[in-house]
Symmetry: C2
Subunit: 343 residues, 2 copies
């Protein structure tokens, strides 16, 4: 492996001079500069990042701790992180906590995995990463892991109890917007398929819908809320019950797409067609609904962008441009579908 020293010897200059040329740290005569550059080219010299980092105390590494890379939203976020990182000359070092297989849906027990997190943090620390992005599995509040560490830390798709920068998306506003579309289409009786009672995204999405319904003066009695646990099966059963009542809702809002599919199949089984007999909305713009006809109206989260913005904050902090705690909430976009019918 070629080193600075090799280049210096071949060029008949000191290693310092080679370093100056390579980093543009100081003015060097054009002659020597050219000579050095030629040799660098010929030898295919690659500076040793380890040595460089050891000296300069900057590694150009961003540690990404992801609660589960197999969570549906993770790849898009990581993609965004990767893109932005490369643009700024950083590399990604990835640590996957694999929480799904470890805790299933028991997000509240996350504290049990504090050990895993500490270990990941330890490694990233040992490697002297310039900053850390923590990508959550649900957009929810979690303990603030990096309290005592001095390394820049940004939460993405989650946020910390007591501060810390984060990037998330506005599901409250988006849900509100979806509900408004249904109201505009004339709907007055709503069925809502929510996640777990304690789930924060579920609560926020519910709040958004509630706001829209309140605005429209729709009474509580015309809102049926069922906590169907985010899943297809449970949602289908809940929807079946909901739709067999005498004053059944004319619109069902599922707080995620998987539950929307459950509601759709319940409707199909009951020979209710969408959108003629029933309007339906989802959330997340999941793969699973791309090919169902009619297309179900849903919302797309700005996942890639969230990753990019997280890197932006991190880089600003790592490079000393700011030391502020920055919180960014990005808007979603509504995906139109034919599942909303006028009444």
């Amino acid at each position: 492996m070629t080193t600075l020293k090799d280049i210096a010897e071949q060029a008949g200059v000191s290693i310092a001079t080679v370093s100056y040329v390579l980093n543009g740290t100081r003015k060097v005569s054009d002659a020597t500069k050219q000579k050095i550059l030629t040799i660098v080219e010929e030898t295919g010299y690659q500076s040793n990042i380890l040595a460089k980092s050891l000296r300069s105390r900057k590694t150009g590494l961003i540690g990404v701790i992801v609660e589960d890379i197999q969570a549906k939203h993770s790849p898009a976020i990581i993609d965004g992180i990767n893109r932005a990182a490369e643009e700024r000359g950083y590399q990604i070092i990835l640590s996957n906590l694999r929480l799904i297989s470890k805790i299933g849906q028991e997000f509240s027990h996350i504290s049990k995995y504090r050990d895993d997190i500490e270990r990941a943090l330890g490694t990233l620390n040992a490697i002297r990463a310039d900053g850390i992005i923590y990508v959550g599995m649900h957009d929810r509040k979690i303990p603030h892991f990096a309290e005592e560490k001095e390394i820049p830390f940004v939460y993405c798709y989650c946020y910390a109890e007591n501060g810390g920068s984060f990037v998330c998306y506005d599901d409250r506003k988006t849900s509100c917007e979806l509900a408004r579309r249904l109201i505009e289409a004339g709907h007055r009786r709503f069925g809502i398929l929510a996640g777990q009672v304690e789930s924060e995204p579920s609560q926020r999405r519910l709040e958004g819908i509630t706001r829209a319904l309140d605005e429209a003066g729709i009474p509580e009695s015309s809102r049926q809320i069922v906590y169907a646990g985010w899943k297809y099966e449970t949602a289908r059963n809940a929807a079946k019950k909901m739709l067999s009542e005498k004053t059944r809702p004319t619109a069902v809002m599922a707080l995620n797409d998987e539950m929307a599919l459950g509601a759709r199949d319940a409707a199909m089984q009951m020979r209710l067609s969408i959108p003629e007999d029933l309007s339906l909305t989802g959330f997340d713009n999941a793969d699973e609904i791309q090919y169902v006809v009619p297309h179900i109206a849903t919302a797309s989260r700005p996942l890639s962008l969230m990753g990019e913005r997280a890197v932006g904050i991190l880089a600003d902090q790592a490079e000393g441009r700011t030391n502020e705690t920055i919180n960014i909430t990005l808007p979603c976009s509504i995906i139109e579908g034919e599942s909303i019918g006028r009444i």
Copy 2:
């Protein structure tokens, strides 16, 4: 940041002794050992991996170049890589080529992205990764990037023109097995929805099916093969045509699940029900088909395991246990569904 030197001073020993204790490189008296360990614990000392690696010429870093992290199969493979890497004390450094957005389906033009790849390889080289895993986007032949490099290199979900270790899965055998199930169920007229003509996975899956049909003595005239380009839309159109022929196939084998969904919707539109009027199989076990009823028989690829095995090969090479080129082909598992009917 605490260093070896700090610990040594506090313990009143030399830094070498501390190093010996921490690495177990040499016997040290229990007394000093305990004293050192206590101080390490108290200070929360983290050894500086950069310095360590610079000296020992091993970084404990595995570079993972993934053609696109947003490809459906990527997260599961990376998950497997991550799991196995952690077990062996390696960290993952991730480089995402983002090929999908760059070239779409034009996989043949991949050579244009040689530059991107060279850059990723360069960075990984500069960082002195102990080995590199290249995760492809399709299980296909690609140029051998690391010919001249001395660093261990393993291809995953693809393989190289002229050698190099790789891990892939057996779509030929699996397709053959799927076809046999249909034959056993009494089918004699087949429609096959393939990918692009030049696609290797498509060719292999087709070969598997051909073998099964040949074995069963089913004439070429009873096999309708259409190259429907892997996509829902094109597959639906192709299936529609296929199913309107007077001697329509009784079984349609789509070489991926997205096309199976296309075939299913074509059948629905033509009022053919599955599995009574038509049997259907897919491939890949994609998210998109998890919730369609009846469940479509398909095949699940051992993605996570492929990642794990790739790390196994890499670690064996990096740690000098072998210098052989190793190729592993893993079996898939058939996912039963109600989409296969007896005839």
